[in-house]
């Protein structure tokens, strides 16, 4: 079995779903190791041990230089472990780190991976989920970014002893990109869109009011998504956009409300396990791919469903 390393920008004692999936995946390889570009608390270290991780590399740094510390940590950990497989999260920042280091070390980069076999064959979706492709590295270390909701989270049967090593980083004077300001985004209690088990999304048909969409999402503990028409209209933040130019989601359940299902929207959600669509227009293309289609007014159907879910849960 090849050896593997996972990289995280930061890791708390309550890792995200995507991070847990990465830990589950790495634990199936030889000498599972983790590198984190920040302090890792004792509690977070216990989480790593519970997944069978044997080695943790850390180095904290807080220079106001974008990405430089993280790539130094990743590079040092890759050199220290000589891992054949390096796993990263699928967000833009992580995939860029992996891609840059693949160039620097003449390795391979595969993004949007949904699984990796023991002989390092990666599976991913192509062309917005219309193809399933298998690919592998032909040279050097394989850097792979894992799409959330791809792997069943499964901690190890027993804890391992975790060895911790503080990485000694060389000083670099390559400060090209300065962080001039940082503004916190509005925090949400809802799950992250790309990681959520359930997504409720609204489109043009919500007519400016995301209330019913948000209410059903909260009844289901779901994330809220939107079509480009809805984000372009300013009804909801661009962060909620699903589709070709927004997030790609693959939840257990996707509820589409007031979205016609144009091809760019389908691109972002058609690998969901179950799709339920509510639309006034019986000819909406979304009904062609929905497991359950409801021709009706979302302003009536969604609140009724939310109320019924709360009633049954009570």
């Amino acid at each position: 079995m090849p050896s593997a390393l996972v990289f995280f920008t930061e890791l708390s004692a309550a890792p995200s779903k995507g991070q847990r999936e990465l830990l589950t995946l790495v634990s199936g390889f030889e000498n599972p190791a983790v590198a984190v570009a920040n302090q890792v608390s004792d509690e977070a270290q216990q989480v790593l041990a519970s997944y069978g991780v044997v080695k943790l590399f850390t180095a904290s740094g807080d220079a106001p230089v974008f990405g430089q510390h993280e790539i130094s940590v990743l590079d040092a950990a890759v050199q220290a472990t000589a891992a054949e497989l390096v796993l990263l999260a699928n967000d833009n920042f992580s995939r860029e780190l992996g891609a840059r280091l693949a160039v620097r070390r003449n390795g391979a980069i595969i993004t949007d991976v949904i699984g990796i076999s023991g002989d390092l064959v990666a599976t991913k979706d192509e062309l917005a989920g219309s193809y399933s492709v298998q690919a592998r590295a032909t040279n050097g270390t394989l850097f792979a970014t894992l799409k959330p909701n791809s792997i069943v989270d499964a901690p190890a049967a027993s804890n391992t002893a975790l060895a911790v090593e503080e990485l000694a980083l060389e000083n670099s004077n390559d400060a090209k990109v300065r962080i001039a300001a940082a503004e916190a985004k509005v925090a949400s209690d809802r799950p992250a869109l790309t990681e959520a088990r359930v997504v409720v999304a609204g489109g043009r048909g919500v007519n400016g009011d995301f209330g019913p969409v948000e209410d059903l999402a909260d009844a289901l503990g779901a994330a809220v998504g939107a079509s480009r028409a809805a984000t372009d209209a300013g009804w909801i933040s661009h962060d909620a956009q699903i589709g070709q130019t927004g997030a790609t989601v693959a939840p257990q359940l996707y509820i589409s409300a007031g979205i016609s299902g144009a091809i760019q929207q389908k691109a972002g959600m058609q690998t969901s396990k179950f799709i339920i669509a509510i639309n006034k227009d019986v000819d909406a293309p979304v009904f062609e791919i929905a497991d359950l289609g409801i021709v009706g007014d979302l302003a009536k159907v969604l609140p009724q469903a939310a109320e019924e879910i709360r009633r049954r849960k009570a």
């Binding site: 693949a102 980069i109 990109v177 359930v198 962060d239 009706g296 159907v301």
Partner: protein, 273 residues
């Protein structure tokens, strides 16, 4: 800001010819490569062209000596994406046209594009879209920054250019924050579809584009071996590609007042609640 004193900028905008996302797209079962027959300029690259032309217009215009070179790589058809960029206002075109490029992964693609930018000479700024709409890896801009030694300003939600300082500032989402990042030229900039509103070329612009020069080069002209790109120059290979079975339509019901309940019944049946 004194426009007269602005040093002319040499900007390369990278454009890609991709299969139209409005239609069904296919991977050839023999070559395992994308069928590129019905291709257009990648929609997301229009934002890159707009960003380049806007920077020029805000700093004295093309009369001040600025250049916007629309560059692409690939077979013959790829030149169409350059034409569209010229209609949108790019000043000239550069087409790395060589059959050996087919099958390049991001490692080989970034190698070829970096060589093309270096061949163009003294480039201040490389601008790209946030992602291609075919492979959707969105990592080539970062790889170009790595190869060229340029600052990496990617996934820009907004862009500002300070000509006096030759400094770019962008906004970018990162973790739970929106960052303002600043870097001096030379830089690689990738822009999201939030960064601007691409212009629609009018008749005059379309006619003017016909007079602009497009230079075609092969790999030898930019000093690359055929083995440095394509499958041989790539560090990954696709070993299988299978079309996923199309999703089938399930039950469609008309709401007669109880559809919300039916929705919850469906969730219960499928053990989703």
């Amino acid at each position: 800001m004194s426009e007269e004193s602005t040093t002319p900028l040499k900007i390369v905008v990278l454009v890609k010819h991709v299969p139209d996302v409005q239609f069904d797209r296919h991977i050839d079962s023999g070559t395992l490569r994308l069928d590129r027959a019905e291709s257009v300029l990648s929609e997301l690259d229009e934002y890159a062209v707009e960003a380049a032309v806007s920077i020029v217009e805000a700093n004295g215009g093309f009369a001040a000596g600025h250049e916007v070179i629309a560059a692409t790589m690939g077979g013959k058809g790829s030149g169409n994406s350059v034409k569209k960029a010229l209609q949108m206002g790019a000043s000239s075109g550069l087409h790395l046209n060589d059959d050996a490029l087919a099958g390049s992964d991001t490692i080989a693609t970034s190698k070829a594009l970096a060589a093309l930018v270096e061949h163009a000479g003294n480039v201040d700024l490389v601008i790209t879209g946030m992602s291609s709409t075919d492979a959707e890896t969105s990592v080539v801009p970062a790889q170009l920054a790595e190869r060229l030694g340029f600052a990496q300003l990617t996934h820009a939600l907004a862009v500002e250019f300070d000509a006096a300082q030759r400094e770019l500032a962008i906004k970018r989402d990162h973790l739970d924050r929106t960052l303002t990042l600043k870097a001096n030229l030379p830089a690689v900039l990738s822009v999201t579809d939030q960064a601007n509103e691409p212009r629609y070329p009018n008749f005059k612009a379309i006619m003017a584009a016909k007079k602009k020069t497009v230079t075609e080069l092969d790999l030898a002209a930019i000093g690359l071996d055929a083995a440095a790109v394509g499958a041989l120059g790539s560090n990954t290979e696709v070993i299988a590609a299978e079309a996923r079975p199309a999703r089938e339509a399930g039950t469609v019901i008309n709401d007669s007042g109880q559809a919300g309940i039916a929705l919850v019944d469906f969730l219960a049946e499928q053990k989703l609640i």
